[in-house]
């Protein structure tokens, strides 16, 4: 059944005659080694002053020098501590619970440190509040070692001491002629709130304005006007039976993110049941890609959908002027919601206060247990109208001093120019920042603040969930926390650490401070009242979706998985991480639908080496123009709408290689993510670094298996998950049976035998595993040009496959999507167009650790061999770089080191400076040029677990073994373990009906298995 469905990775593949696709299918390495590049043409060789004899002399000399140098090894110095801290044992990792709270990402994390250096971020399993430990949080450890950080306090660009800084700023604040304004990120910290109150009472005329770079203002206002607290409703997605999302990317950063883990668990069919997810949206988002049913529509229609839903569920008008097919979908969604009872929930990302109040209303009408308003989220506190007012006041000259903390408003404010003008009117501007950015360049006083891994803090996620932040390394630079500085300026001599302890001296109940600090998280009620916001209803900013009426395209601004709001733009791991949907890295781009692209004459084209080229457009919103935005034709983008990611285009304090993309914040008018936009094609061709066509599986099918919940429940497993068969003596025999096996198998029954299971149902494509793999295994960053040449080094990639509904025989979706009595033939036609509303599957692929590995047999030097524990081992020091193995690998998971990526000025990323190299995992070799590398199934981690057990003289319990990716996956999509353990979860997965192996018919017997994707297509 699954084989009847056609899967494709790119629109290019739908083109039957594409030579590019053909080339990529036939060749592992699309390009020849560019000999011409370094030998040049005959003419330039002739002009060269180096003669052949000179060349030979150099060769002779350097060979002799090299061999002489090889005889004597270098002297290695070892410098132990003079006084070794008690808890640090060289070679043993220490873990500390801490919290990231950068104003955008909030999550409780475990920090792995080695010899006092934080090297990896992991999930804190004790945390009940699942603030997503997403790709950005995983990568945040590298931002600690960012060379572009502010290293010491500065006054007008001059380095000063903290004493001088305090003296100067204090006198400036004392003499401030006008209001003192604190413009901060959302700290969500009781102690900081208390501290700001104290600071205010000292100076009297202090105003505190909270600004979220990516605003949740509409939802906050709606909640506030209904419940009187400025917060966001919390959602417990583990209770979901049916969810309808209208423009809410709730598997990503919506409402502060972190809902995906709970939701993914409801996606695994249990007792024939799983949750149902209906998504109405315009951009193809991560959430939409995972939906059972996705209805693409323009942002302006989203409000209408919400209005209709409200009508159907909460009462009111029950008619809508939506097109009949959409209306039909809404009617069905409403009936399913009603059926799901308390397990139903409606969420929306429409930036309109009215719509957001409907969400609360509908969920109450549904009696939803999923929405929790009693334990509301406080990790977004920004107030858009207060920010707008502040900019006005600054320009009036009524602001005497402005203290900015954790923000970069010059870059991120839609009216950044006005803000810059306003800054000139303010006498004293203090910027508390970790990075030199656009704002700090315009500020007189720059207070260097530490990274969160060097700071103390208490964080309030929701009204009842708290978490502590503790330093894991002594500050690398001469930095001081914002809070410590504020304490000093308020005349308090305590450190912020003491201050937090005092705040909580009575608030921890029967738990003591050390215990809570160890766990990192605790439940309590805040000893400090939430800062009340003064004006919500009289909001000077109100966005009305009706403004979208009229000619032109509708733009939806979003934050993408890698860069988010752009704080970590100087992080090479994140820049190189391919977007889960577009598979493009190092860029942002405007996503347009295929139909619109044709209308506007926009093109995407794959050139001979597999690289993707795209046209440029200018985007105009009001009188703001963003020039030369590359175009990406996105299957699933609603016709008439376009999308663009925020967070890119930063220039100040960002290394040249990472100054990528265009700044979309100027288009973020009135803090609304939807805008009316004019699109105009301009000349030029943009070169993307897009990996979507890389490493295609040689055109072999049978990679994705998927079925519907109905089939899954009613038919036998062999119908929807059949084992491929081959002919043996004219008898069809399954490939898994030993008779057809030409290999002699190892005996793997003794000791652990590792397997990894990946559940396609639970995988949302979030990419946390990709970054976790980077930081665990010292995977290098190769840069945009190299990625374009298919030379990315990711050991773990997440393939994204589109599939068109109309090639799925027996497909119910098709009929139901059109619905509406088949009234419009044009819509029918639209849906037949494969790229219009495709279904999406994410599939993480790493080395499959085949028991019968094709790579092993072709290696001439036996550099890759098999272990008894099931791991396919790659021995770098033995490899001579023939690349035979990569050519013979059916899964295309081997990566070749074309260059030395460490200590090479051509690859000026973290591996090229002493600071960045501190993030390296000392247990994993840094590979050098000319060797092949690939996923090792984290053998360093499994070996450590085994050794710990041996040393303690005990057996290993299930759940102790982990790879970096399985540990990073909080969705439970990746399960790792020992199949020889009869009690283990992995064995259960292996015996599951949904289990299949990638390209089973090749007979490689992989140790990585997949669980068939099941879609809940049950309508009504």
């Amino acid at each position: 059944m699954s084989s009847n469905k056609k899967y494709w990775k790119s629109v290019e593949e739908l083109n039957e005659n594409s030579s590019v696709v053909e080339t990529l299918q036939q060749k592992e390495f699309a390009e020849e080694i560019p000999v011409e590049d370094f030998l040049g043409d005959k003419e330039s060789l002739g002009d060269s002053k180096t003669s052949r004899r000179d060349f030979l002399k150099y060769v002779g000399f350097s060979t002799a020098a090299a061999s002489l140098a090889a005889c004597e090894g270098p002297v290695v110095k070892s410098i132990p501590y003079v006084v070794q801290p008690e808890r640090i044992v060289p070679g043993i990792a220490n873990y500390y619970a801490s919290t990231i709270a950068d104003g955008f990402d909030f999550a409780s994390v475990l920090v792995k440190t080695r010899e006092g250096r934080p090297i990896k971020i992991e999930n804190n399993d004790l945390s009940k509040f699942k603030g997503g430990v997403n790709a950005r949080v995983n990568a945040s450890v590298l931002s600690l070692y960012d060379t572009k950080r502010v290293k010491r306090p500065m006054i007008e660009g001059r380095n000063v001491s903290w004493e001088e800084f305090d003296r100067e700023v204090s006198s400036a604040l004392d003499n401030a002629s006008g209001e003192i304004v604190l413009l901060t990120q959302t700290f969500a910290s009781p102690s900081t709130s208390k501290l700001i109150q104290e600071f205010s009472s000292k100076y009297g005329n202090v105003r505190h304005v909270v600004y979220d770079t990516v605003s949740e203002d509409a939802a906050l206002n709606a909640f506030q006007s209904k419940y009187g607290r400025r917060a966001l409703p919390n959602y417990d997605f583990s209770k979901v039976k049916t969810v309808v999302s209208v423009g809410a990317d709730f598997l990503a950063d919506w409402h502060g993110g972190g809902f995906d883990a709970a939701f993914a668990k409801t996606r695994i069919p249990k007792n024939g049941k799983m949750s149902r997810h209906i998504q109405f949206e315009s951009n193809m988002s991560l959430t939409g890609a995972n939906a059972d049913k996705r209805v693409p529509l323009k942002p302006s229609q989203q409000k209408a959908v919400m209005a209709a839903l409200r009508g159907y569920i909460a009462g009111g008008s029950s008619t809508s002027d939506l097109p009949s097919n959409i209306d039909d979908a809404v009617v069905k969604a409403a009936s399913q919601l009603r059926k799901a009872g308390s397990g139903a929930v409606v969420v929306s990302g429409v930036p309109d206060q009215e719509v957001q109040s409907w969400v609360l209303e509908i969920n109450e009408a549904l009696g939803s247990r999923v929405m929790d308003t009693s334990n509301a989220r406080v990790i977004r506190q920004g107030n858009a109208s207060e920010v707008a007012q502040l900019v006005k006041d600054m320009n009036n000259g009524s602001v005497g001093a402005l203290l900015i903390a954790g923000l970069n408003p010059v870059h991120t404010l839609p009216n950044g120019d006005e803000f810059v003008e306003g800054l000139k009117q303010v006498e004293t501007v203090v910027d508390f920042t970790t990075r030199t950015d656009e704002t700090s360049k315009l500020s007189k006083y720059v207070a260097a603040t530490p990274h969160y891994l060097e700071s103390w803090g208490d964080i309030q996620f929701s009204e009842k969930s708290f978490s502590l932040m503790q330093p894991t390394i002594r500050p690398l630079f001469d930095t001081r926390q914002f809070q410590d500085t504020l304490l000093k300026w308020s005349g308090n001599n305590a450190s912020y650490y003491e201050y937090i302890k005092e705040t909580w001296s009575a608030g921890l109940g029967d738990r003591n401070w050390s215990e809570v600090l160890h766990d990192g998280v605790f439940e309590a009620s805040s000893p400090v009242a939430l800062p009340a916001s003064n004006n919500s209803s009289s909001s000077s900013i109100s966005f009305n979706m009706d403004e979208l009426e009229g000619e032109g395209y509708e733009l939806t601004l979003y934050t993408n998985t890698a860069i988010g709001d752009g704080q970590q733009a100087n992080n090479p791991w994140l820049q190189e991480m391919p977007d889960p949907l577009t598979r493009a890295s190092w860029d942002n781009y405007v996503t347009v639908s295929k139909a619109d692209a044709e209308e506007l004459g926009l093109e995407n084209e794959n050139v001979a080496n597999g690289g993707l080229n795209g046209s440029y457009v200018n985007l105009t919103v009001g009188d703001t123009v963003v020039k030369s935005v590359p175009v990406y034709i996105m299957p699933g983008q609603a016709k008439g709408s376009v999308g663009l990611a925020l967070g890119y285009g930063r220039k100040a304090g960002v290394q040249e290689e990472m100054q990528t993309g265009v700044n979309a914040y100027p288009l973020y008018k009135n803090f609304s993510s939807v805008q009316k936009v004019k699109i105009e094609k301009v000349a030029g061709v943009h070169e993307f670094a897009c990996v979507q066509l890389h490493n295609t599986l040689m055109g072999r099918g049978d990679i994705i298996k998927e079925t519907s919940l109905e089939v899954f429940n009613t038919k036998d497993a062999h119908v929807w998950n059949s084992t491929p068969e081959v002919s043996l003596d004219h008898q069809e025999t399954p490939v898994t049976s030993p008779e057809v096996d030409i290999w002699e198998s190892f005996d793997r029954t003794t000791g652990p035998h590792f397997n990894l299971s990946i559940d396609l149902n639970a995988c949302t494509g979030c990419g946390a595993c990709v970054i976790a793999c980077h930081s665990e295994n010292n995977v290098p960053v190769v840069g945009k040009d190299e990625v374009r040449k298919s030379r990315d080094m990711h050991w773990l990639r997440i393939d994204r496959y589109f599939s068109s509904e109309d090639t799925f025989t027996n497909d119910l979706e098709k009929k139901e999507n059109i619905g509406g009595l088949g009234s419009s033939l044009s819509e029918f036609g639209e849906l037949e167009e494969p790229a219009d509303n495709p279904q999406v599957v994410f599939q993480p692929v790493m080395c499959q650790h085949c028991n019968h590995a094709p790579c092993e047999t072709v290696c001439p030097v036996a550099a890759t061999s098999h272990g008894r524990q099931g791991q396919n081992q790659m021995i770098y020091n033995r490899c001579v770089g023939t690349r035979y193995c990569a050519n013979n690998c059916p899964y295309k998971v081997r990566r070749f080191n074309w260059f030395n990526y460490a200590q090479n000025d051509e690859f000026d990323y973290h591996l090229n400076n002493d600071l960045g190299r501190m993030v390296l995992n000392p247990d994993v070799t840094v590979r050098s040029r000319g060797v092949m590398e690939k996923c090792s199934m984290c053998i360093q981690k499994t070996q450590k677990t085994i050794l710990d057990a041996k040393r303690e003289g005990r057996t290993i319990k299930d759940g102790e073994f982990h790879t970096a990716c399985s540990a990073a996956c909080d969705k439970g999509a990746m399960v790792f373990g020992d199949v020889n353990d009869k009690e283990s979860k992995i064995l259960e997965k292996k015996n599951d009906d949904r289990m299949y192996h990638l390209l089973e018919y090749v007979g490689t017997k992989p140790n990585v298995m997949y669980q068939t994707k099941v879609r809940n297509t049950t309508e009504a």
């Binding site: 005889c71 270098p74 070679g91 000791g751 272990g867 041996k950």
Partner: protein
């Protein structure tokens, strides 16, 4: 550049063989020399014994020494301040009865309000001295007898020891030179005699008119050799094989640093610590039990003992290294940790020591000490050699992969009492039909176990 004192190069092999010949011919000489050395070593001991006189009017200094070392030495030194004051001269400062009372129960004495007792208690940072009620007055007198002995003259003793050491070393050097000289002289004499005899014979022949018949001109030997194709073939094969053999030998020792013995910033003697004082290796290299690194001990570990040990005993000195030399090395430790032995305080000024790493594995080889030390229970000496005899540590094992692998093939897994191995051992021993399993049979030869 690394200094490697021992290398299997061809030239060294040649030198060795010459040296071997020489030793063989001259074994007589060296035996005599060894006897001389032995007497030199005995001398300082006698001297130390001689110093054990004086102060004997109080009691038996020998018994006192024993008691002092077991009870008092942790905090007191006879001649210098330590955690407690120097004891030499205490009988002049204090009344004997007072001393008896203080030693038996100092706390009671302080509590009674004794002025002297309180003064000393406050002067030494209110550190209470433990009570020793088990000591009789006689015992205390014996201890006092020991500490009241006049301070031995280390200057003279060490000086003479050092001088002797120098002389002994020098005489060894001269003797080989002399032997070589004699040998050369004898050879020269033999040549001369041969020449003279030949000359004389010729003169006789001339004188008696005998004409020595001219030998028929023979083909030059090299021509004969070139013409004999068989011989050319055989010898070129031999030459090629020999070249190949030596080239292979040369190449295989590149990067093998067996015998590497660098000079360290502080002359730390494993011979004294692990050998003479029998300190367990893992007392200082504690992380070898739990971590992949054995760990170079941090200096605070050294200071655990060296707070109290500021100088070595005179008998620690050897011919090569004098007591001054060792004391200076301890002073280097104090300098690095910022410890002032006079005031017994840390200045806070730390100077980390840059040790030279001796055992260097390449980055791509993973080695875990705890696996070998704690799990397998292997003696440190198995890989590090007779460390307790090394004055300066050198690399004893070649640390090549072949060396690792051989050991894995030969060494049995230590399974007793380790629950982890129970099931695995049962299954594997059945499979291989043996009771004891080697590391190799457990998968200890798989590439990925050490290279990742």
């Amino acid at each position: 550049m690394k200094k490697v004192i021992f290398r299997h190069s061809t030239s060294r092999q040649l030198l060795l063989s010459v040296a071997f010949l020489l030793t063989f011919t001259l074994s007589g000489f060296s035996q005599a020399q060894a006897a001389q050395d032995a007497t030199a070593q005995a001398e300082p001991e006698q001297e130390a014994a001689a110093a054990d006189t004086g102060g004997s009017d109080l009691g038996d200094p020998a018994a006192g020494k024993e008691l002092f070392n077991s009870l008092c030495a942790a905090c007191h030194k006879p001649y210098s301040n330590s955690i407690g004051p120097a004891l030499h001269g205490v009988t002049d400062r204090r009344d004997m009865d007072w001393i008896h009372e203080w030693v038996k129960n100092s706390a009671a004495l302080i509590a009674s309000g004794d002025a002297q007792a309180n003064e000393i208690y406050n002067e030494w940072g209110q550190t209470a001295m433990p009570a020793f009620p088990q000591l009789s007055n006689g015992d205390i007198d014996n201890i006092l007898a020991y500490v009241e002995q006049p301070k031995p003259e280390p200057q003279a003793a060490a000086g003479s020891a050092g001088g002797e050491a120098g002389a002994a070393g020098g005489s060894g050097g001269v003797s080989t030179d002399v032997i070589l000289g004699i040998l050369v002289f004898v050879l020269a004499m033999l040549l001369l005699v041969l020449f003279l005899v030949n000359k004389t014979l010729r003169t006789f022949a001339d004188a008696s008119g005998i004409v020595i018949p001219e030998k028929p001109k023979r083909k030059p030997i090299y021509k004969a050799f070139v013409e004999n194709q068989f011989l050319v073939l055989v010898s070129s094969i031999i030459v090629l094989l020999a070249v190949g053999y030596f080239a292979y030998g040369f190449l295989m020792q590149v990067g093998v640093d067996k015998g590497y013995q660098p000079i360290q910033p502080i002359h730390y003697s494993h011979r004294i610590h692990a050998g003479d004082n029998q300190i367990e290796c893992k007392y200082c290299h504690s992380s070898a039990r739990t971590s992949k690194h054995s760990g170079i001990p941090s200096l605070n570990v050294c200071m655990n003992c060296h707070k109290a040990i500021a100088e070595v005993a005179p008998e620690t000195a050897t011919e090569e290294y004098s007591k001054e030399f060792y004391d200076k090395e301890i002073a280097k430790l104090y300098d690095a940790t910022g410890w002032d032995p006079a005031t017994r305080t840390y200045s806070g000024e730390e100077k980390p020591v840059k040790w030279v790493r001796i055992h260097n594995l390449p980055d791509f080889a993973y080695f875990n000490h705890s696996q070998h030390v704690s799990v397998a229970g292997i003696e440190c000496q198995k890989c590090h050699g007779p460390i307790q005899e090394m004055e300066i540590v050198y690399q004893d094992a070649p640390l090549t992969m072949g060396w690792c692998i051989n050991c894995h093939r030969e060494t049995n897994i230590r399974i007793e009492g380790n629950e982890y191995y129970e099931k695995i051992h049962e299954e594997l021993s059945k499979k291989y039909g043996v009771e004891e399993l080697t590391a190799a049979q457990m998968g200890g030869l798989e590439c990925g176990k050490c290279h990742y």
